[in-house]
């Protein structure tokens, strides 16, 4: 499951999508909109994606993960549109026979996603705004 959506995100559908009979662990990540960024008060965030390329790049990340760890399934969904503080912007779930692989792969997936997947966020603060894109997002 690799997707870009304008619908609210939750982890449960991803967890259910990645679970296999061989899985002993499912590791998850949920990125949420924080109230402050670089000392500025956030009003809301607006996400934009190059959808077709983003999904291709997500697929590339799943290939990288499979080259590094023994995992069962990987799901990544990123939200687009306007998000309020506390809403989830990105959800990831990785299943594996063992927890170490699941946890390592999940951490790798979000780092790579922020580095190279063409998704941008416009931070709209109380006193201005700025677009932030791949390679320059702050970590959640």
């Amino acid at each position: 499951m690799l997707d870009i959506t304008d619908q609210q995100l939750s982890l449960e559908p991803l967890v259910n999508a990645v679970k296999r009979s061989s899985s002993g662990a499912v590791a998850t990540f949920l990125g949420v909109v924080r109230e402050q960024t670089r000392g500025r008060q956030v009003r809301y965030l607006e996400y934009d994606a190059y959808r077709e390329m983003a999904i291709l790049k997500m697929r590339g990340i799943t290939d990288e993960i499979r080259g590094k760890w023994r995992v069962d399934e990987i799901a990544m969904v990123h939200r687009v549109g306007r998000l309020q503080i506390g809403e989830a912007s990105v959800a990831i779930a990785v299943s594996a026979p063992h927890r170490r692989e699941a946890l390592a792969a999940c951490a790798y997936a979000i780092d790579r996603l922020k580095e190279m997947v063409p998704i941008w966020k416009k931070e709209v603060w109380t006193d201005g705004e700025e677009w932030v894109g791949p390679g320059r997002c702050e970590h959640h």
């Binding site: 190059y50 941008w120 705004e129 677009w131 894109g133 791949p134």
Partner: protein
């Protein structure tokens, strides 16, 4: 001598879309043009794009591409800005 033209599709996202004002453009270029030539042409049309240059990556047909990439008719090009100037950036 006849100069043949090719037409490429330019997808615009985030700050680029706000500068250009639309989410995609179709641009005609002489056959054999490189990505860099397309970039120069767009810079001429939209001078505000020049402010973004230092940090922008480019894609051709949904893969990151270098400016010396030769374009073909029907190619899909996008600017991938890591950070760009907003209202008061």
């Amino acid at each position: 001598m006849v100069e043949y033209m090719i037409k490429v599709r330019v997808r615009c996202f985030a700050a680029i879309r706000e500068i250009v004002g639309v989410s995609e453009l179709f641009v005609e270029l002489p056959e054999g043009s490189t990505l860099m030539q397309l970039i120069h042409l767009l810079h001429g049309q939209f001078p505000q794009l020049q402010a973004l240059t230092g940090s922008v990556l480019f894609s051709v047909n949904r893969e990151y591409a270098s400016p010396d990439t030769r374009l073909a008719g029907g190619d899909e090009v996008a600017f991938i800005p890591p950070v760009s100037g907003g209202a008061d950036a």
